[in-house]
């Protein structure tokens, strides 16, 4: 197995009760690359990220991070692996009992044991990078708009400078300009930190900007996977329909059949 694969999923299945969500995912994320997953709502994109993080346990299949099968890890080994990750959650998932700066500094203080003062400085710097002033740092997350929460979530995900960063719909809920700022920021993170990223998005503009490779999730499987320039000539009806946002096509017919 190639050693420069950062993440590899082999035949991963995950269901909830009778409902099968992931039905044999195969995916490879090479080191330093930025892979974007596209796919309809409710197809299991967020579930896939959570399986890689070990927040959910897959029913079947193997997940390798740096060549080690994390599904077989003890909780201690898993914790060590988790330190490599940063994640921006779809709903931001900020801790509403803590002020904004402490949210951003959380991984530094709790995870890495940094003292609060240094962590606060870094937090304010990270907030600045996502376009938020130091004054925002003292607000509570509930006082922020949805888009601001998203940016704080992003600052929190990159604060510990992780090797692997997951972005779950990073631009949803942002205005087009801020969305582009975030796209740039993601591209920068990959370059500066040499980070490997796995992102989920419905926003094709964002996908084209941040992706090296794009994969499409449909019916619990990756049905197409290729370099970003190839997506317009994928020859796959599902992909074509999705990237052009057409209501008519194979995906709609599946919906009608349900």
């Amino acid at each position: 197995m190639s050693t420069d694969l950062k993440i590899q999923l082999k035949d991963v299945h995950k269901g909830f009760g009778p409902k099968k969500v992931l039905q044999g995912i195969d995916l490879e994320v090479p080191k330093g690359q930025s892979v974007v997953i596209i796919g309809g709502s409710g197809t299991g994109k967020s579930v896939m990220l959570k399986c890689i993080l070990g927040i959910l346990n897959p029913d079947q299949g193997e997940i390798f991070v740096d060549g080690e099968d994390v599904t077989k890890f003890s909780s201690r080994a898993r914790k060590k692996t988790l330190a490599k990750f940063g994640m921006l959650f779809q709903g931001a998932a900020l801790f509403d009992s803590l002020p904004v700066w402490e949210n951003v500094a959380f991984g530094l203080i709790q995870g890495k044991g940094m003292n609060r003062k240094d962590a606060q400085e870094i937090a304010i710097e990270k907030l600045r990078r996502v376009g938020l002033g130091a004054d925002v740092g003292n607000l509570s997350p509930a006082e922020l708009s949805g888009g601001m929460q998203k940016r704080v979530g992003l600052a929190r995900a990159i604060a510990t400078e992780p090797e692997i960063i997951f972005f779950d719909e990073p631009t949803t809920g942002l205005d087009p300009i801020m969305a582009d700022v975030i796209n740039d920021l993601i591209v920068e993170c990959v370059k500066d930190l040499g980070a490997t990223t796995l992102s989920i998005t419905h926003d094709m503009a964002s996908a084209r900007k941040i992706a090296d490779r794009i994969a499409m999730l449909y019916h619990g499987k990756i049905i197409w996977d290729g370099a970003k320039d190839e997506i317009d000539s994928s020859g796959n009806d599902h992909v074509d329909q999705f990237i052009h946002g057409r209501a008519q096509g194979p995906i709609e017919m599946e919906l009608l059949k349900l």
Partner: protein
């Protein structure tokens, strides 16, 4: 119509599965208490939330219960040796049973529900998942401090409840029933045994454990948005009540069961 035996079977299996999950949760929670780090700042905050904020409701409950108890014992045929019976029965009833049980139930109503709502909201808004991605064990960060705080705080609250309960009896006894003030206090002290106080505090600690455990368990495992959190809150209070009443019976039988005769 469905076979009633099948329904009973399903209910039994579902309850056993729930008990299994709860036991596993408790085991993880307890082991997380004994592994560093302990978030003492959170423990103190929870002690404040559980203890200080429960004082008014626990105090009032104890005061009124102690007073009503004194009145009932007086009319219950003991008018003639009321001077010794009223203070004695009041202090025994309050310290052995009513102080810890009523205190525990009142705190459960407040605290189990609040814990379930807070952790439940954190669960459905993915804050608990976020903790994990930030290399923080949610059991150590969220559950352990609540358990530690409740186990420490409940005995303190129950001591206060016991004192206020006895005071309630004293106020009615001396103010309304005409009992002698000095004698009342003397009899109270004479009747009270060390075992009563110890069992009262042990009960309080155990109840504190169940209050925090049920609040955390139902909150931590809640799912399905606002509705799920609402359900978790109700279940937390109901199961904390049941656990408290059952634990009370067991402790009472163990400590006082051998006396009888």
């Amino acid at each position: 119509m469905r076979n009633p035996l099948a329904i009973i079977g399903q209910v039994v299996l579902a309850s056993l599965a729930e008990i299994g999950r709860l036991s596993k949760f408790s085991a993880t929670a307890i082991s997380s208490i004994f592994m560093p780090p302990v978030y003492w700042r959170h423990v103190l905050k929870q002690m404040w939330l559980i203890g200080y904020n429960s004082l008014p409701v626990v105090g009032l409950t104890a005061l009124f219960t102690g007073a009503a108890l004194a009145q009932q014992i007086y009319v219950g045929g003991s008018r003639f040796n009321a001077a010794s019976v009223v203070p004695g029965v009041v202090v025994i009833a309050i310290v052995r049973e009513l102080g810890p049980v009523l205190g525990g139930l009142m705190v459960a109503g407040r605290v189990s529900s609040a814990m379930a709502a807070e952790l439940g909201t954190m669960r459905v808004t993915e804050q608990i998942d976020a903790l994990v991605t930030l290399s923080t064990d949610p059991f150590k960060y969220l559950v352990a401090p609540r358990l530690i705080a409740a186990v420490i705080t409940l005995p303190l609250l129950v001591i206060i409840a016991n004192i206020i309960g006895v005071l309630g009896g004293y106020l009615i006894g001396t103010g309304r029933l005409g009992l002698n003030e000095g004698t009342y206090l003397q009899v109270t002290v004479d009747f009270l045994e060390r075992a009563d106080v110890i069992s009262s505090l042990v009960k309080a600690s155990v109840f504190g454990f169940f209050i925090a455990l049920m609040g955390s368990y139902h909150g931590y495992n809640s799912r399905g948005g606002a509705q799920g959190v609402g359900k978790a809150t109700t279940n937390a209070v109901v199961s904390a009540f049941i656990a408290i009443l059952l634990a009370n019976l067991i402790i009472t039988v163990i400590v006082f069961g051998g006396r009888g005769a």
